[in-house]
Subunit: 331 residues, 2 copies
DNA sequence: ATGTTGACTGAAACCGGTTTCATGAGACCG
DNA sequence: CGGTCTCATGAAACCGGTTTCAGTCAACAT
């Protein structure tokens, strides 16, 4: 097939025009007389000419790609993130370059390296050092997700403080006395904030501070690991607040598998409201966060050539009460 | 900071050499006399020069990026896939450009569009039409994953026929009489093959053909949906064979949530052997497939400039018997 | 009839590297 | 001492578009 053996100059030559005109026709930026336009289009059609991405990128000084950096974790959260981000990027004709691997040691270097292959970069909280972010932001536009903004970059995150309302609900409305928290503060800004809200709610309700968090990751298997530590002993908590739905569901599966009843023997809550949360039995009490929206907003900030509305954008979250915390008639 | 305002010619000028020499120093392809090399390196250091990705890509006719196309699904499977792919790509200095969105309607167009931004493309089975693959393969190297190879592209997949051994185990070793299959054949080549193996095992054991598959997706929530169809009626199956671990775990969670015992009331099996499978209670009987290896092999085929060992590479899988099928002392 | 304006168009510069090719110098061989 | 070979090096071509700048021509106003 007439493939990429032809370039602008060849096309121009064959159409009897200048390369400039060919470019004007393909881009459609400047009017071209119908006659020439027609001639050019015919040649393009016949020879299957397509402007080279290389040449165009060089000339425009634009990669047409956005970077997306996130911790190499499994689960619906990051899938949703990618898709939300990508859908928005496609809107503007950008491609998405992901960085998900994680030796943690050389992540910084890799990210900095990535910086000159993309026009903008979205970095998920808890993946890259502050210095590396600064270096990248020095070169291209950066938006951090689920984290705090910095001097050179905006941020998009969600209202993690709903966790306070959820904790309060468990303590006050249900009267649970002993709550456990599953997740690793410091692991990510999100979890840190949720843990702090958890603490704050205890304080606000004048309860004594809760036990140390069960420091595990954010995957479903981590919920199962947490189950071993929380459910097998004698001092089982009344309710377990998990940093996300994944761990909550892992924990629930383990609890049920041990013959415990949820919420009678142990209440469980999550964070995310992923599809499975509503379908579990009992359905999972959780906090809904707009993941897609988070990603899409980030992509939009990166793509928008207009001024950055600097600072932090915080998307709303919503407490979703279902059976697993003890609410509702049917468990 | 001395940023990208400088280019080869500037550096060359300042170092008192030709651009060619600068290039030779940065690439290290051809020996340069110690003196000049030193001078050039000093200038580079002082002005923070870094070769532009644009210029280099254009000159080398190489993007330094690989494409990865997969269905926009959640879950550990695809996370693992991305990471395995990316880890391998980083090895060779390539970036990874993903396409995960799925309007299905314009996916073909998007994929073809992506083809001239990358040097090679990995396409997951069941995402793109054969014609689109052909078009892309006409332009760049293509490897399909978890699918069959085609005239112009190699493939990497796993031995799905272990599903036959698993089914036989349930029918013969455990003597279950009524098996159900959860998953949508035709949805993806993987599921198709697994379903066929499931059928073949019935035939080989001289059992009457099983019921129609429960046609749901591959996510955990789909397992919960399948549960509604399979577990609530009177004609509950003895054992449910799921197309992957995700759905199996969703189903198990639903079963336990309904007060059913696994495997006594219903046995459940999966496919993948993801981390959660071993940690569930009861632990999940499944088939282990090397997802990372699948992705890494694919990336290697794409990056390797040497001749394509055309045809299909099939990676081995392994039957993993645990409690959920009725094996083992402890459930 | 002449100055002005506006719309198209092409030549040339530009984006930033890499690589071929020719040359000059020094080393080695006879 | 002359011829050949090797090696480092620079000039120039090349990769493939986009855009500025200047110029042509026709329409329009005065």
């Amino acid at each position: 097939m007439g493939n990429s053996r032809v370039n602008v100059r060849r096309v121009a030559e064959m159409a009897g025009v200048s390369p400039a005109t060919v470019s004007r026709v393909t881009r459609g930026t400047v009017p071209v007389s119908p006659e020439l336009r027609e001639r050019v289009l015919r040649v393009i059609e016949e020879h299957g000419y397509k402007p080279s991405h290389f040449g165009r990128a060089l000339a425009e000084q634009r990669h047409g790609a956005l970077g997306l950096v996130f911790p190499g974790l499994s689960g619906p959260y990051f899938s949703e993130l990618i898709q939300g981000f990508e859908a928005e990027a496609l809107e503007t004709g950008d491609s998405v370059l992901v960085l998900a691997s994680h030796s943690r040691a050389d992540t910084d270097a890799t990210v900095i390296d990535l910086a000159d292959r993309v026009d903008g970069m979205a970095i998920h909280g808890g993946t890259v050092s502050t210095e590396a972010i600064a270096k990248v932001a020095d070169q291209i536009r950066v938006v951090v997700m689920a984290s705090e903004s910095g001097p050179a970059q905006a941020s998009v995150s969600v209202a993690n403080d709903s966790m306070k309302a959820l904790t309060r609900h468990l303590l006050v409305d249900h009267g649970y006395r002993k709550l456990a928290f599953v997740g690793t503060p410091d692991g990510s800004p999100d979890v840190t904030t949720r843990w702090q809200a958890f603490l704050a709610a205890h304080k606000a309700a004048r309860r004594k501070p809760p036990a140390e968090p069960v420091r595990v990751g954010l995957q479903q298997s981590d919920g199962a690991i947490a189950a071993e530590r929380l459910l097998d002993g004698d001092d089982r908590p009344d309710a377990v607040v998990c940093a996300n739905d994944e761990t909550a569901l892992g924990l629930m599966l383990s609890a049920l598998g041990r013959g415990l009843r949820v919420p009678q023997d142990v209440a469980i809550t999550g964070f995310d409201d992923m599809p499975m949360a509503a379908l579990a039995r009992p359905a999972l009490t959780t906090i809904r966060q707009p993941i897609r929206e988070l990603a899409a907003t980030t992509a939009r900030l990166l793509a928008d050539p207009l001024g950055q509305p600097a600072g932090d954008i915080v998307l709303p979250t919503e407490l979703v009460l279902r059976g697993s915390c003890g609410c509702g008639g049917a468990p």
